[in-house]
Symmetry: C2
Subunit: 96 residues, 2 copies
């Protein structure tokens, strides 16, 4: 079980120019989960091309593994399923 008020870490490659995307996704997560998360850490990576989203040591998204960046909706579902399973995401919820 994920501890309440966990921290999401978005590790991004600064030299690839991905700070703004990382910051955008952080804002999306914090808009939805202000009460459930301790926060989101923006962590510039020393590994070229890295873009990962981690929650309590679990890599929710790895750009190299998935072959693309996450959409906010996907990330919110992944986080919701771990920290607030009852929470509805409204439009962001997957179609049943």
């Amino acid at each position: 079980m994920i501890p309440t008020h966990a921290t999401v870490i978005i590790e991004y490659c600064p030299k690839c120019g991905w700070l703004l995307r990382a910051s955008w996704l952080a804002q999306e997560l914090l808009t939805t989960f202000a009460d459930e998360l301790y926060g989101v850490t923006l962590h510039p990576s020393e590994v070229a091309g890295r873009f990962t989203v981690t929650l309590a040591d679990e890599v929710l998204w790895d750009r190299k593994r998935e072959g693309r960046f996450p959409e906010p909706k996907e990330l919110k579902q992944l986080v919701r399923d771990r920290v607030a399973s009852e929470k509805s995401l409204g439009h962001s919820d997957r179609k049943e």
Copy 2:
């Protein structure tokens, strides 16, 4: 001495609508200190009206204490003086 690769925590009042300002300042710090900081954590506060910037347990800025929000230039000087004292901030450097 501040450990290298420390994390700056920006605690902000989400209900006051300060997420975007906090995120903006995080981007400013990470643009300047991508090599010196582990990262910047955006931390929604449970305390109404709170806006603080903390580095290694030292409160660099407290909106209630200073009576206003920090400008990026001030924040960068405060962080630089602790994690990269030799680093020039170019325009952001205070006039000697």
